[in-house]
């Protein structure tokens, strides 16, 4: 399991041979796992410098199948745990993963507030519209009026708009991927990790057991005669803010991303919806304590700090 820094990294490097995913056949999670491993290989960081922090649910199990440090945490709390991990050791490449219920439901408050911080981490949200592990209840992404075969009645709550929520929360990299579009997804994950700041990728995926609406056939558009999934770049959409000092451009790009976020039905956009270079939380901390610009708390905060000056202030 030891990988020397010089060894050539491949997707296989990040695989765990003796741990087998217990996802159902045809689950989109396999596609996401495969894309993550390929992306990690491209990114070139050895496994011990990577930490995968995941939530609870089918998606949350992904941490077990990646050769890296990992914490399979609590339902909706992966971002919190990841925040602690990243701040303790900024040298780690921190990936966060969880389902749509995890991120947009029970963890929605943390999703919003993590956007405000802009820590240098990437968050992958597996969006299949349902709570799979508890047998198919509607997730916050299930549209009002929709009813899967597992639901007793159609949904009567509005669905959340993940992209719009991410924009409003201050995420500086927002993308949508599709689990079955591997090449594109690998590229998005690589861009998300390389982005300085918090990146969010909403990854559409089928749940073949419980979601009979968002199926592979649905995404392929069998019923409409064309693939529903399309690339934003194919239409010349550019979500990147080219001049971060230009507030007008920022607002325009945010508005464009939000407008795109409502597109659903016959055509579903994928790719980077928004990207902004902005100071990260780590940059702000280094502004307070310059040592943090090049060192982690792990290296700096040794026990036995001299407190004589602090005590004297109370004399």
């Amino acid at each position: 399991m030891v990988v020397a820094d010089t060894e050539r990294l491949t997707a296989k490097t990040f695989g765990v041979e003796d741990s087998h995913p217990d996802w159902c056949g045809g689950c989109g999670d396999f596609g996401i796992l495969s894309a993550v491993k390929q992306a990690l290989a491209q990114l070139g960081r050895p496994p011990h410098e990577v930490a995968v922090i995941s939530g609870i649910g089918c998606a949350g199990k992904i941490a077990h199948y990646i050769n890296a440090y990992g914490l399979h945490t609590l339902h909706g709390r992966a971002l919190n745990v990841a925040t602690g991990v990243k701040l303790a050791n900024q040298n780690l490449e921190v990936l966060v993963a969880g389902g749509d219920g995890d991120g947009y439901g029970i963890g929605a408050g943390y999703l919003v507030n993590s956007g405000r911080r802009n820590l240098n981490i990437a968050y992958l949200i597996h969006n299949n519209g349902v709570y799979g592990l508890t047998k198919g209840q509607a997730a916050p992404t299930m549209r009002r009026g929709q009813k899967t075969k597992a639901m007793a009645e159609p949904a009567i709550q509005e669905s959340v708009n993940p992209i719009g929520l991410a924009i409003a929360s201050g995420y500086t990299f927002i993308a949508r991927g599709y689990a079955m579009a591997q090449r594109d997804l690998v590229s998005l994950i690589v861009q998300a990790v390389q982005h300085r700041g918090t990146a969010l990728i909403d990854i559409l995926q089928p749940c073949p057991i419980y979601n009979d609406l968002m199926t592979i056939d649905f995404f392929r558009g069998r019923d409409v005669g064309h693939n529903r999934i399309y690339r934003l770049t194919d239409e010349g959409f550019d979500g990147r803010v080219h001049d971060p000092s230009n507030q007008d451009e920022i607002v325009a790009k945010q508005q464009a991303a939000i407008a795109k976020s409502f597109e659903w039905g016959d055509r579903i956009p994928t790719g980077v919806l928004y990207q902004l270079d902005a100071p990260t939380y780590e940059d702000e901390l280094a502004g307070r304590l310059p040592d943090l610009a090049s060192n982690s708390l792990l290296d700096l905060a040794t026990p036995g700090q001299d407190i004589s000056r602090l005590q004297d202030a109370y004399r």
Binding site: M1, V2, V85, G109, Q311, R315
Partner: protein, 619 residues
């Protein structure tokens, strides 16, 4: 004539009154003069206007609690004397006039609408000073045009100056502190404040009818240089000393003062203080940081601790090294009494989440203990790889106490067992390896070759999700076994203390901040009531030092449990752990801390008759 044994109180409205600043100025002046000081505050959950009372007690010997009576009552308004009028929906409090000891003095504003006939006490003296007139005269004396809006804030200096005069306390101790306590934007008012203090002292001498007041304050210059510090600040310093790299919090009374203090030191020490979106986030961020290898902590009160429950269980099953959680108790349940005292959260802290899991619960008796225990808590978190809950409360958080130092320098540093690549050979790393001690050496995130995943699910030695029965039992036993190890290894001084004589008529049993009033009551019980008493303070609540408690109680002739709660929660814990049911209880659940007098009263009453459950309150 009592030298240096003073019980003093100032009262007034929050924010506009300047109660806190004047009380802390006076307390600090006494401390700088070499006196031992204990000072505590009562305040509402309110920003502006509601009543605050702030006590200062001084002594020639160490003092750790307040008394019921006051020798000097400084009133910034009539409410301080009489409480709130009864025409309101209910009387919010009854004022403090009844606390003034015979021959004591009330200092009040002659121009305030105080009905002197309502004082109805011919055993006390009233020193009435025209606060605003004195301020105006002092300002004008400096050749400055008086402006009520700008200058009336200094009216709180009037009773302070008057106090110095009555106590024959060298006012230079106060004068020299004015510049220190005034904020930067008020430095132009230092001279004015000093003039007000001097002018008030002079007027008070004239206004006081008697030759001399029965308490005087005499500086003890040989004892100069000790600290005067609140519990929240003591704990903050301990965290910095322990190398705590990461503190999370969500604003809550009375805990956030600790985090705010730490925020002020982020530019000079390697500590990040993160104000999270709630206590769920606070807790889980700290757990993540602990797993990643740094010392991490969070700090909260009961309502926040309720939200931390889930994360505590997560930290424990994943064997995180920590975090350290400081639980500053306040009056519950629910929002309860946000700014008031209680020890209601013991049973909750012992079982804060679902399932069975190990964690350490330890309670501090005062600010110094809170600092020292916080330091040790990081060691225990690292060594036993479990969260540690340090219990304190509002009484410790907000009270000022005189200390020589925090006693941190000599404490050991133990970061527990680390895993290194050489330990493994060709085997993959097992994060939860079954060992004789139950402790599995931990790999810090980032260590080459140590990659592992662990999970909130039950898991194997390698951290893989597993529901097989033998593994489940082995991992449960491994985790719980660490508590037995902690019970064996944690030195006795951190587990309990028997204060006073080994053999005594009465054994007082308590935990946490009742320590102060109990320790102060022991010599009084002996000297004034002929009762020899000792005090069993239980610090370690989980794992519980059952053997020593059982043995101490078996020797006790008459044991009384003293607690700031309704249920007698320590008594229940002792019964559970030792089989000994303590019938005698002295309980307080009025949201106020025990005073020294109340402990004395409780012991005397229990000594006279078999009263079982005694409830105290002195509104």
């Amino acid at each position: 004539m009592k030298n240096n044994a003073l019980s003093w109180m100032i009262g007034g409205p929050a924010l506009t009154g300047g109660v806190n600043r004047s009380a802390e100025l006076f307390a600090k002046a006494c401390s700088r003069a070499g006196l031992y000081v204990f000072s505590n505050i009562e305040y509402h959950s309110n920003i502006m206007g509601r009543h605050i009372s702030y006590r200062v007690r001084t002594s020639d010997t160490p003092v750790h609690s307040h008394l019921e009576h006051v020798d000097l009552l400084l009133a910034l308004d009539a409410e301080t004397l009489f409480g709130t009028p009864e025409y309101q929906d209910y009387q919010r409090h009854g004022g403090h006039l009844h606390r003034v000891a015979p021959d004591g003095v009330v200092i009040l504003d002659a121009k305030a609408k105080v009905d002197h006939s309502a004082i109805e006490r011919d055993d006390i003296h009233v020193v009435a000073l025209a606060y605003d007139d004195l301020v105006r005269e002092s300002v004008e004396e400096l050749g400055i045009t008086y402006n009520a809006r700008r200058h009336s804030v200094m009216r709180n200096m009037v009773p302070i100056g008057a106090s110095c005069a009555l106590l024959d306390f060298d006012i230079s101790h106060v004068l020299s502190l004015v510049a220190e306590v005034l904020p930067a934007h008020r430095q132009d008012m230092v001279e004015m404040n000093r003039h007000v203090l001097l002018h008030a002292a002079e007027q008070a001498r004239r206004a006081y009818a008697k030759e001399e007041f029965h308490v005087t304050l005499r500086p003890r210059p040989e004892r100069n240089g000790h600290m005067l510090i609140k519990g929240v600040d003591a704990v903050g310093i301990a965290k910095i000393h322990a190398g705590c790299a990461f503190q999370t919090y969500y604003p809550i009374a009375p805990a956030s003062d600790e985090s705010v203090m730490l925020e002020g030191h982020q530019t000079s020490y390697p500590i990040v203080v993160l104000q999270a979106e709630d206590e769920v986030a606070s807790m889980n961020m700290a757990v993540g940081a602990a797993h990643a290898g740094v010392r991490a902590a969070t700090s909260t009160a009961g309502p926040g601790f309720s939200l931390m429950a889930e994360g505590l269980g997560f930290a424990s099953i994943t064997e995180a090294p920590g975090p350290v959680v400081i639980l500053w108790q306040r009056g519950g349940p629910s929002t309860g009494l946000p700014t008031r005292q209680s020890q209601q959260d013991l049973r909750f802290a012992l079982q804060p989440a679902h399932g069975e899991f190990p964690h350490i619960v330890v309670a501090a008796g005062d600010a110094r203990e809170a600092a020292r225990i916080t330091h040790m808590a990081f060691n225990w978190g690292d060594r036993y790889q479990m969260p540690v809950v340090v219990m304190a409360d509002k009484f410790i958080a907000n009270s000022l106490v005189t200390l020589d130092d925090l006693g941190l320098d000599d404490l050991p540093i133990d970061r527990g067992e680390y895993w290194t690549l050489e330990m493994n050979g060709s085997e993959p790393y097992r994060r939860h390896r079954l060992t004789e001690s139950g402790i599995s050496p931990r790999a810090v995130f980032g260590t080459p070759g140590g990659q592992y995943v662990t999970t909130s699910d039950e898991h194997t030695e390698r951290g893989r999700i597993d529901e097989q029965v033998e593994n489940r039992m082995a991992q449960m036993e491994k985790r719980m076994q660490k508590l037995e190890l902690a019970a064996e290894e944690i030195p006795a001084e951190w587990q309990y203390e028997l204060v006073g004589p080994d053999d005594a008529d009465v054994t007082i049993v308590g935990w946490g901040s009742t320590r102060g009033p109990i320790v102060d009551a022991l010599p009084v019980l002996e000297a004034e009531h002929g009762i020899s008493a000792n005090f069993l303070q239980i610090r370690l609540l989980r794992p519980f030092p059952a053997a020593v408690v059982r043995e101490t109680l078996a020797r006790a002739r008459r044991a009384i449990v003293v607690e700031d709660n309704y249920m007698g929660q320590l008594g229940l814990l002792i019964a559970e752990q030792t089989g000994i049911k303590l019938e005698r209880m002295a309980l307080k659940y009025d949201g106020r801390p025990f005073s020294q007098d109340e402990v004395v009263e409780a012991v005397c009453e229990h000594n006279e008759a078999d009263i079982g459950r005694l409830v105290l309150s002195h509104p």
